[in-house]
């Protein structure tokens, strides 16, 4: 492809100021040092964590939970069979009347919709066949948003969401209460594991929006006084599935 004129001028000027010819297709050095510890395992959150020691992984789960509890986030560690009961508790706790969720097979498997129905919740799925404006308006007024998560990071207490299609980015953003469901075997040590996971998806094309979410929306802009829920959800619940 011919390089656009403006781009050629812009980049040419950089090369000139650096006192050399234009460079192209430079790869960064492979930094041999890793200031963190305990990373570098094969990354495939979809697979069983068979290669890892159970005790080591138990540590990670505890670290993940501890980190989030320090960030005003409730974490429930439950079996799949208890999903309906725990979600009903969250619904009761916040007096939820309406909800919107990802249209995601991993949530359907948990009989999410029947739990919502049983609790009399007015709810909709982020179905890509629906009218955009209508769904968005519903999401804006919904009390609760529910998504699955693709990965958990123990060091920071982060969940990673690969959005796109039925996995709308607004679900984890607009409603004041947010629930993320994460199989505990998807928990990895730290941010670098999340980065490797994202990198592994580049060949097939990244979704337009990826989110790393760590606790509730917060601000310290008024006298450094912590306040939750200023733009995004002020209440966040993580449901960890023990399977």
């Amino acid at each position: 492809m011919n390089e656009p004129v403006e781009q050629a001028a812009f980049l040419g000027s950089i090369a000139e100021k650096l006192g050399r010819k234009r460079r192209t297709a430079v790869s960064p050095p492979s930094w041999d040092r890793k200031p963190w510890e305990g990373s570098g395992q094969e990354l495939n959150p979809e697979a069983e964590a068979g290669g890892r020691q159970a005790a080591e992984h138990e540590q990670l789960i505890r670290q993940f939970m501890k980190q989030l509890s320090a960030l005003n986030t409730a974490v429930y560690r439950i079996s799949r069979a208890d999903f309906g009961r725990v979600l009903s508790e969250v619904i009761a706790k916040h007096g939820i009347g309406s909800a919107i969720s990802w249209d995601d097979g991993r949530l359907h498997e948990l009989q999410l919709e029947s739990t919502l129905n049983r609790n009399g919740i007015h709810h909709r799925l982020w179905r890509t066949t629906e009218n955009e404006r209508e769904l968005r308006t519903f999401a804006e007024s919904a009390d609760m948003g529910i998504t699955f998560a693709d990965m958990g990071l123990a060091d920071t207490g982060t969940v990673l969401l690969m959005n796109g299609g039925g996995r709308g980015r607004l679900i984890s953003l607009l409603p004041p209460v947010y629930v993320a469901v994460l199989p505990e075997r998807f928990i990895y040590p730290r941010l670098s594991d999340g980065m490797s996971f994202v990198r592994s998806r580049i060949p097939e094309g990244l979704p337009a929006c990826i989110n790393f979410i760590t606790g509730p929306s917060r601000t310290g802009d008024i006298e450094a006084d912590l306040a939750l829920g200023v733009h995004g959800p002020g209440k966040v619940h993580i449901i960890l599935l023990q399977d």
Binding site: P4, F10, T24, T158, R169, T219, E223, H231
Partner: protein, 471 residues
């Protein structure tokens, strides 16, 4: 506040007399600073992290043309538009043109220092567009008609009483000073603006070259709303805000949030790779990335090149004794604190920013905390040297530098001068301090008091004590 005025001393004096500011700045500065200290301790080996990130940033700057080319190619492959802006005015007119071509009227913005640098809001408002700042701190400042005074915590100089007043006016009803009530009002009010906006404008914390991704770091979620609801997203980045791959992003993020607020990570880290894709029901239909030079490439060829490693964490402001006393506005430029004192003269020229390199005690605290190891206080000295050479320094200061240089390199002269100094200054000294005086003394004391030189010099005292020297 007059951004054009090049009179640091007058603005500093004003700040020193501002009782609100004198309480607010140290309070927030202490919180941010102790957050960073704890985060650094928790990392354990923070020096290793700094060293590695510094090397990564330097590699990026040294190969900037290549990484930018890769970034541009990947943004286009993702379906986005890429624009290159050599000057601030170019960036502004690109935004204007996008707004015009799309018949846009309402714009929401997430916090971005580069848009402050190019004075974007002013120009867009002149064009008749409504521009709303959505970061809580920026929203406070927009209501107050002020500029940010800190990179990370833009309204840190504001006390809650003032904020409650501003919000009450905007709400048309009396709001209490309670943080959660004020935040609830902002959430509701700004949510409407998000739902109605035609264009969302953000900065760019880091762009990832290998995937054409713009990464935004936020705690409030306003950057997510800005990039999710409007039909058009425009991201504006300084050309050095780039990392080669997600691996380098890992280190940069790890250090950014820890250095800024002490958080291990911000609440949201959002990677935007182009506009919405087929089958998406949310996200913008158009994505534009504007890459801005605005004087940065000129820095590449100078002794100040390392300043381009900056990741805008604000840690240097949070430890600076000068910033603590005068706040961000006294710097009179877009960037404040030690990084501003280095960067502003480069972006704006000595004509308007010549005083800023002197707004430092050269204590070096900034250099010590910088997560990318920019030698900030060395660069301030470099500026002072350049100013002297280019004739921007008052004649007296130049003579002082010259005279001191001569004395310091001629021990005998220095020794004599030290004796004379004590005797000769008795006339102007009071309680051991000199706050006025003629000639060279005036050049010094116009800005600060000088302790009266001791009657006996250190060298004489040492000799008298029979100074145990090995040689």
């Amino acid at each position: 506040m007059n951004l054009q005025a090049a009179d640091f001393k007058a603005r500093a004096k004003e700040a020193l007399n501002d009782t609100q500011l004198q309480r607010a700045v140290p309070f927030v500065q202490d919180r941010l600073r102790s957050g960073r200290v704890q985060a650094a301790e928790a990392l354990g080996n923070v020096e290793e992290w700094r060293e590695l990130l510094s090397e990564i940033r330097m590699d990026t700057i040294d190969n900037l043309d290549s990484y930018l080319e890769q970034l541009a190619g990947n943004v286009r492959a993702n379906g986005g538009h890429v624009h290159f802006a050599s000057k601030a005015a170019d960036a502004v007119s690109i935004v204007s043109r996008i707004a015009e071509e799309n018949g846009a009227r309402k714009i929401v913005k997430a916090k971005s220092m580069i848009t402050e640098e190019i004075h974007l809001n002013k120009h867009l408002e002149e064009q008749g567009l409504s521009v709303i700042e959505t970061d809580l701190g920026e929203y406070i400042l927009q209501l107050a008609g002020e500029k940010p005074s800190h990179i990370i915590s833009p309204a840190l100089h504001k006390r809650r009483g003032e904020i409650a007043e501003l919000f009450s006016q905007a709400a048309g009803r009396k709001l209490s000073e309670d943080t959660s009530e004020l935040c609830a009002f902002a959430r509701e009010h700004l949510r409407e603006a998000f739902m109605e906006a035609d264009i969302g404008i953000t900065g760019c914390n880091f762009a990832v070259a290998e995937s054409g991704t713009v990464v935004l770091v936020s705690n409030e979620g306003n950057a997510r709303l800005t990039t999710s609801l409007p039909k058009i997203h425009i991201a504006i980045m300084g050309m050095e805000r780039i990392v080669p791959t997600w691996n380098e992003l890992d280190l940069a993020l790890t250090m950014l949030t820890r250095s800024a607020t002490g958080q291990k990570i911000s609440v949201y880290v959002t990677g935007i790779s182009g506009p919405r894709q087929a089958g998406d029901l949310d996200g913008p239909e158009q994505f534009h990335l504007i890459i801005v030079d605005n004087g940065r490439s000129d820095i590449l060829a100078t002794a100040y090149k390392e300043v381009l490693k900056c990741i805008r964490c604000g840690a240097c402001m949070n430890v600076c004794p000068i910033y603590r006393h005068v706040g961000g506005h006294a710097y009179g430029s877009v960037y404040s604190g030690p990084i501003g004192a280095v960067l502003d003269p480069l972006l704006e020229g000595y004509e308007t920013a010549k005083e800023l390199p002197y707004a430092s005690s050269l204590c070096g605290a900034c250099t010590e905390v910088c997560p990318v190891k920019i030698p900030l206080h060395d660069l301030l000295i470099e500026h002072r040297k350049d100013e002297v050479e280019q004739g921007y320094t008052p004649q007296m200061e130049k003579m002082s530098f010259g005279a001191f240089g001569f004395m310091a390199s001629h021990p005998a002269v220095y020794s004599k001068a030290a004796k004379i100094a004590s005797a000769g200054t008795t006339l102007w000294a009071k309680d051991g301090y000199i706050s006025g005086g003629p000639g060279l003394l005036a050049g010094w004391t116009a800005g600060r008091d000088l302790p009266q030189p001791a009657k006996q010099s250190f060298r004489d005292w040492w000799k008298e004590k029979g100074g145990a020297r090995d040689e």
